[in-house]
């Protein structure tokens, strides 16, 4: 349904060109939840914004292709692109606090999407908004229509955002760290809601997160990104049971386990490199415990360890090329 192929989004800054998204390919099949995981600055949010063509200066999509149901989005006239945003692809953001306009009621903000894309009258849109509010589990929906964002709790605000995103029954919803700013109990509720909506309404979800726990809870398929590149991609069970890439291993090992061995929590040494000064060779090599000399000299490709499981690491070179998901 959504196919991102060899996407490159660069930021042209005073200090040089930063390849925030560097040759990334991601496939999101219909009726699925696909996770994109990585530390801050790995390019996962920029990838999401690229899909909606909302990367703002100094960022620019340099090359690649983004196909929605076979239709190319890159280079689409802005008028046609606007018909896709909020309609076929919608997006929710990390901060439900600041993502809603403080001077309008939440009802109006949700209704706006339907008035815009469905040509609904204001009354119709408000009725539909009540339905949506009910669907996302907002109590007393009629009353909540007239609330302003600051009168709602963080969890409720995120439900409003989801209602807004689902209002036009899009085929894809991009969720950029939707639960990071929420309490753990609220986070569980929101994740549960998203899973339900995916099942009931058939909307695929691109779940952007840094939290492996969220991935395990929600996703069918996972892409692990590091410094602008996909390092590993696999089905959820493969990723957790047959973890290949040292970086993914590191990520999984740094989750505290209640049953695990007591002692120091594992962490990946070092810092994410600056995109302006990437190390030579594999970009994870300076932090990799298993790096060999080659890793510091040339960049590995994506190797297919099994069907649908690709790893960007020389350790798996023997498996042969063709690890691209598409």
């Amino acid at each position: 349904m959504l196919q991102i192929r060899n996407l490159k989004t660069h930021f042209f800054t005073r200090g040089g060109v930063a390849a925030a998204v560097d040759d990334v390919s991601i496939r999101i099949p219909p009726r699925s939840i696909v996770g994109v995981v990585g530390e801050s600055g790995c390019g996962k949010s920029v990838t999401a914004l690229s899909v909606l063509q909302l990367v703002s200066r100094p960022g620019k999509i340099v090359s690649g292709s983004i196909l929605l149901d076979g239709e190319e989005l890159i280079g689409k006239p802005s008028k046609q692109m606007r018909r896709i945003r909020g309609n076929k692809i919608s997006m929710i953001f990390q901060e439900p606090m600041t993502s809603l306009n403080p001077v309008y009621t939440v009802g109006r903000q949700v209704a706006e999407t339907m008035i815009l894309h469905r040509g609904a009258s204001k009354a119709e849109a408000m009725d539909r908004t009540v339905e949506m509010f009910r669907a996302v589990g907002i109590p007393a929906p009629e009353k909540r229509l007239k609330s302003f964002p600051h009168q709602l709790s963080g969890g409720l605000r995120q439900r409003v955002m989801i209602a807004m995103a689902m209002a036009c029954k899009p085929s894809l919803m991009i969720a950029d760290e939707p639960t990071t700013a929420l309490d753990v109990t609220i986070e569980a509720q929101i994740l549960h809601l998203m899973k339900e909506l995916e099942r009931d309404m058939g909307t695929s979800i691109m779940m952007i997160t840094h939290n492996m726990g969220v991935v395990a809870e929600l996703c069918d398929y996972v892409y692990v990104m590091y410094a602008g590149k996909v390092m590993e991609h696999a089905g959820i069970f493969d990723l957790f049971d047959h973890t290949k890439h040292p970086y993914t291993q590191g990520l999984l090992n740094s989750i505290p386990k209640p049953s695990g061995v007591r002692g120091r929590l594992f962490n990946i040494e070092g810092m994410v490199p600056s995109l302006l000064r990437l190390p030579k060779g594999c970009r994870f090599s300076p932090r990799c415990e298993q790096a060999v000399r080659e890793c510091f000299e040339s960049e590995p490709g994506l190797y297919a360890v099994s069907p649908g499981h690709g790893v960007r690491c020389f350790l798996y070179r023997d498996c042969g090329d063709g690890g691209e998901a598409i």
């Binding site: 800054t13 200090g15 801050s40």
Partner: protein, 296 residues
């Protein structure tokens, strides 16, 4: 807008522009208008203070044979109603604008910073009264308050000096107070307080250094207002008085001859415009460089 996680700008900022001085230098490199303004300001200051060294004429000595002489090779901007060289008078007149632009602004800055930090740090009743006083001062239109102060002190340059210092401290105090209050809750201040460092020491060692960028911004932004107020007061006849020359006073004097000798009044106005504009451009650049909230 680059996505919440993409902190490239921040990273850049940390790399080459860690200090206030570094950021100012960077600003002057990149912002041509601000750099040019610095040049203009420096030129005007140097020219006016070095004037006695090179000026061929006395700015105050009348020469009746040259009354209203038009611009010529000997008198580039002509002569005024008493035959005094206009350009020389303009150059000497800059001194008042410079002194008024810099000194009362510095004084009010010190006052405002001190009161603001005390107000923010001590809080309670002290804070309440200082801020009410600031409210009162800010309620006055600054030009009117300056007029009143200058009335009380009987006019002249010293009274302008005091008047302008008295009106502009309040804005500074408010900004610095707000900043002090937020700094007070920062971990490094809490840490210092928790080990019993005295209030005065905390203010000087921890709070003041963090307020310096704001103070620099406020300083450059306040200068043009002070210069403007001085020229207005002088134009109204409650500011500088003869024989000292000020651009405002010159316009006041020469406006009588506007119809017959318009350049006499046009030139000093142009001088004010250029000088104030240069400070405004510089102030803009400084604010963009130092004020994190104003950065685009």
């Amino acid at each position: 807008m680059n996505g919440a996680e993409f902190d490239l700008d921040q990273e850049l900022a940390q790399r080459d522009d860690a200090t206030a001085a570094g950021r100012l230098k960077g600003m002057l490199r990149n912002n041509k208008v601000a750099a040019f303004s610095v040049l203009v300001i420096a030129l005007i200051i140097a020219a006016s203070f070095a004037a006695p060294l090179y000026s061929p004429y006395d700015p105050n000595k009348p020469s009746l044979s040259e009354r209203f002489a038009p611009p010529s090779r000997t008198h580039w901007l002509g002569c005024d109603d008493l035959g005094r060289d206009q350009l020389v008078r303009l150059i000497y007149g800059a001194r008042i604008s410079i002194v008024i632009g810099l000194l009362p602004t510095s004084l009010s800055m010190l006052l405002g910073a001190a009161l603001g930090m005390i107000s923010g740090y001590v809080g309670g009743k002290t804070d309440f009264w200082i801020m009410r006083l600031a409210d009162v001062v800010l309620a006055f239109p600054s030009l009117l308050l300056a007029m009143v102060v200058s009335y009380t002190l009987g006019g002249g340059i010293v009274s302008i000096f005091i008047a302008l210092s008295a009106v502009s401290w309040a804005g500074t105090a408010r900004v610095i107070r707000a900043q002090t209050m937020s700094l007070k809750e920062k971990e490094f201040v809490l840490a210092a307080r928790s080990i019993g460092v005295r209030g005065g020491v905390i203010i000087f060692r921890h709070i003041l250094p963090n307020c310096v960028p704001s103070l620099i911004v406020l300083f450059t932004l306040n200068i043009p207002g002070a210069i403007m107020n001085e020229s207005s007061l002088s134009f109204l006849g409650v500011g500088a008085s003869p024989p000292s020359t000020s651009w405002g006073l010159m316009i006041y004097r020469y406006k009588t001859y506007l119809l017959s000798y318009p350049w006499l009044a046009i030139a000093p106005g142009m001088a004010i415009l250029i000088f104030v504009l240069a400070f405004n451009f510089l102030g803009d650049g400084v604010r963009d460089a130092l004020d994190p909230y104003m950065k685009d």
